[in-house]
Amino acid sequence: MLTRREALLAAAGLVAAGARAEESPPAGASGGGELLAALPGKKPLIQRAFRPPNFETPLADLVPLYTENAVFFVRYHLPVIPQVETASWQLQIGGPSAQSPLSLSLRELKSSFPHVSLAAVNQCSGNRRGLFSPRVPGVQWASGAIGNALWTGVRLRDVLRKAGVAASAIEVVFNGADTPVLPGTPDFLKSLPIDRALDENTLIAFEMNGQPLPHWNGAPARLIVPGWTGTYWMKHLTDIRVVPAAFDGYWMKSAYRIPTGAFPTARFVSQETPETTPITEMLVNSLITSPAPAARLRRGEPAQLTGKAWDAGSGIAAVEVSVDARRSWHEATLGHDLGRFAWREFQLPLDTSRAGPLEIAVRARSRNGAAQPETLTFNAAGYHDNRVQTVRVEVS
């Protein structure tokens, strides 16, 4: 069914709304009809907001092991997003706890440090916020503010060491080229604890899936913080400051926070208060990519359940599937291991010998023992929904 808006747009030739409607998350999950539209250089994505651009990847585009650059989700906080000139771009590294501040061109960044490639999931902190009950304000993402890519760049710690990290360093603060319209709007800056910044897996990436970073995903260079939610993966990186105290910017002190102690994730001690603390790592989670919700399977024909499972870097130990409304569980076959920060494919043949409804549930378990829960740990910002997902299909 097309909404009136979609019908009007389809009539105007603006969107192929009907053609891909069934690939979109279930109706009601995100507050109504969904618009598929393309940013320059991108394929059509689910438009959650035009300005600042927030575009979600449709479920069908999450089937490949590596999410294609042209369909990778787009998430911005601020509306002024310059096209960064690669030739003149300079990355500044300094701050009170940097002993030898420096500035690097893209060529210098690429030629001065060893290159590293790493497969990792990038998931927006608010992915699945639109599925919260009760509903909470924010971008009403369904399940597609996520993707898996091969990121290539240099280690942040190699760059920081060249800048001389002093013993006083507590956090590292990152800024990107995007800016607000109004002078009173806080610029989007984020910080990491010094130990996470110096972790060997934290990268400054300039390539995504073997191509230069797309504009909408942070060209010419962005931060990669494997295992941590997307908010830390600063796009269009311009400034890195090593600081001797907790950074007090709005986007650290007032946004992207969860109740202290509510989730079994890495602590961010310098930013923690008794009440709240910054979101850090992703929780163990999974996504059923096929069959799509409400799909009809032909009786007697082979059918596969497929999906992806991920966590914050322990790796996936097992994925269990129930096709009988959680009465019995069967272990799915795990696919190729791309590394502990990537997602892992799983599959299981579905029995289509009998007609009727199938209620499919999937729960992933991490190598650290954590498993997806059945219930939501409610939090006001709408983060960390890793509940066991259910998809209902019909065999006929």
Binding site: R5, A11, P180, L182, S254
Partner: protein, 122 residues
Amino acid sequence: MHLRTRRAGVALTALGAALAMVAFGDASRAAHHTSPAAAATPRTAAAEVTELRAGEGHDLTERSCTICHSVEYIPANAPAMDRAAWQKTIQKMKDRFGAPITDEEAKQILDYLAANYSGKSG
């Protein structure tokens, strides 16, 4: 949903592209020239397509909010909002994000949003 198409017909595509230019500035222009894919599929170009419900305070609300963001956020968030939640949001926009609105304007915007976009249940 309380959505209507603001710009129907063939003019839509051109307007969408023009809006993208305004919204994204140099980013859009440069990307437009270097992206054959975008040029080949102008009919699916991203654009602001949501129009707020008519009502007392519509123009002030649209004018104030669109300084920084498109209005889709308003109907999209309606299911999570009531008068108290809108009050909190408007205060945040004013105090934390520097929205240039007077207290009287803030009240008019609150009345409009509370009347038209309060979809919170229970």
